[in-house]
Symmetry: C2
Subunit: 343 residues, 2 copies
DNA sequence: GCTGCTAACTAAATCGTTCCAGTCCACCCT
DNA sequence: AGGGTGGACTGGAACGATTTAGTTAGCAGC
């Protein structure tokens, strides 16, 4: 049953049926009512979205391309919140959300994605060439990484990390350490040795956070190069665990008494594993997170962290894509939350 | 730049260009290589997904229609896991995921959704008529609710709840109570009085869980009608809090010593609020959950709960939609996990 | 009665592909 | 030489809508 069939059946032109669905003002209310009734009656459920999108060039679909796997992105609090914010705005404007992962089979991206009216890209893609396959005339907004010729949405990573590190270092600290998230070029889950060449030039977010920490160290009279660093590859409990066990199981004389973590997930894993070992927080170990996820604030000890509003970040990106606000790069403010893990 | 332009530019037919992209065996490797090179060179990034989907009738997009708002669904552990499982399967088969909410502006559903090749519907829709607007010839699988003429995927709610309640009632219990999730027809966030007419006939999942609890009560010599019940409208910390505060702040003589909760989110909220009040778990208060979400197992006290594999549920639904397994209704097994909250 | 105007409706081109049904030609077999 | 075969490529009709540029009919104004 197509629009054409319906038109023939009713003895009107296809244009009129089309208008009945799309432009009520173009035909008499009476005829329109008749058409809609008959349509329902004959089992025609409205114009086919495929044909419509071909003809009009718009689908009311926005694609979100995620650097990590969909499985990860859907389970991680920060990216879920981002998606939430995006979905919220799209929903109110009658758009829908197509989820794509840039990771594994990037094949699906150029394939299906050209259906979308616009693209929101989250996190650094492994293959930047991916973008050359996207239709260049459709809008693209990058979230949490930089890309030429497109608007990006960020938070103030460096100042935020400087501020929280500075706060943490006000308390006398003997052995501070940093747990990075996806800092290195090559996958590395564990201690980072001195070889600074390992640091990825592309991970601008992570570098900015680290730079903030290091500025505070320097200011506090600590040589940043002396501060031990670990790296974590994926922001999940499972991946964090072995690295953090390695840290907490160091001999007491080497064990850090302050851990600056690049995410709340990492910090929460530290809390869990520290509790299991009978370490007292903050007496034996102080720590800070980043993100301000809800889970970190539910139960004692509440995380000391930087709250970023990922939902709002998503809303902004979505509004930019829909042209509701100018698509120019934005840096969002964050808020330091002093919890129990580093008073 | 379209396929036609490219064909003209190269002096070949459109059919040949199309074959170069879709059916390598239909033309000489040499010509194919030439076409692909020139395509890239002239800025043609492959066949337009919109036209293709119109012509072929397939888009490689599967729509997931969620009963709750997208914001909720993305933040809730259970539905995220379901989405994860779906995404995982779709990804490996080169399909993508379109997210739709059946809730607020159901308008977007009939509109954009007809682009999808198939539909997975999760949770009971407020307006069942919604489905009549979906193209009837495309496959549809329902998850966690029943709908005629379509395959559904469930867990064994009644036996699982019977088993956990039975386990809980082995310990002498003076005042058991049930905290339901979306049981009532009319929104009701708080105590449910005797009026059984309030119970929704459509919420088959919830009813099954309650039935399981009640069977165990009866068997233990407790009149199910005497067991106080509360209801919670949305499975979030924020919505749970006032109801649970109401329960925990009852005078000690009335306060339940066993809470059978229909979700881990509810149970976790109970843990948090009970801790704040200095109640000891399980000495002063025992409780059980449902779902087996990771968050409930990270930290002490670990929840006693029913673990359901939502990820696998998603995988199954996705495989049914893709025709990788027969689309016939399935009931999945669950597993009881004895944690610290009800040993 | 003619003109001009508006509301209501229509004919036909178009969107960018895919794919069926050929056509053409080179080559092989007998 | 003639017939058969198969590989390589093409023409053009769909797919199901939207939209532009009309056409008609009715009515008011002079």
């Amino acid at each position: 049953m197509t629009l054409k069939d319906l038109a023939r059946e009713l003895g009107v032109s296809t244009a009129t049926v089309s208008n009945a669905f799309n432009r009520p003002d173009q035909l008499s209310p009476k005829l329109r009512a008749h058409i809609l009734t008959e349509a329902r009656h004959l089992g025609y459920s409205g114009p086919d979205a495929r044909a419509r999108s071909l003809r009009t060039g718009r689908s009311r679909i926005i694609a979100v391309i995620l650097a990590e796997s969909l499985t990860y992105s859907l389970n991680d609090a920060v990216s879920s919140e981002l998606l939430s914010g995006i979905a919220e705005v799209l929903d109110t404007r009658g758009h829908t959300l197509l989820l794509l992962s840039g990771r594994q089979n990037a094949a699906s991206v150029p394939g299906a994605s050209s259906i979308a009216d616009g693209f929101i890209v989250y996190g650094l893609m492994p293959s930047l060439k991916l973008f050359s396959d996207l239709p260049p005339e459709r809008p693209l907004v990058a979230v949490d990484f930089d890309i030429e010729d497109h608007a990006t949405v960020h938070v103030d990573n460096e100042p935020a990390c400087y501020a929280i590190a500075r706060h943490a270092l006000r308390t006398p600290t003997r052995r501070p350490a940093v747990i990075n998230l996806r800092l290195t070029e090559q996958p590395c889950n564990g201690r980072i040795d001195d070889d600074q060449a390992l640091l990825s030039a592309e991970r601008t977010i992570t570098r900015a956070r680290l730079a903030g920490f290091q500025r505070a160290f320097a200011e506090a009279g600590i040589d940043p190069a002396e501060v031990p660093m670990w790296n974590i590859e994926e922001n999940t409990f499972e991946v964090c665990t072995p690295v953090i066990e390695e840290i907490l199981d160091l001999p007491e004389a080497e064990r850090p008494d302050l851990l600056l973590c690049m995410s709340d997930r990492i910090a929460l894993t530290v809390v869990t594993l520290a509790e299991q070992r009978g370490l007292r927080i903050p007496e034996d170990l102080r720590l800070t997170g980043f993100d301000g996820i809800a889970e970190g604030q539910y139960r004692a000890p509440r995380l000391t962290t930087i709250r970023q509003d990922s939902t709002e970040k998503g809303r902004i990106a979505a509004r930019m894509i829909l042209g509701m606000e100018p698509a120019e790069s934005r840096v969002m403010a964050t808020e330091m939350m002093i919890g129990d893990t580093c008073p």
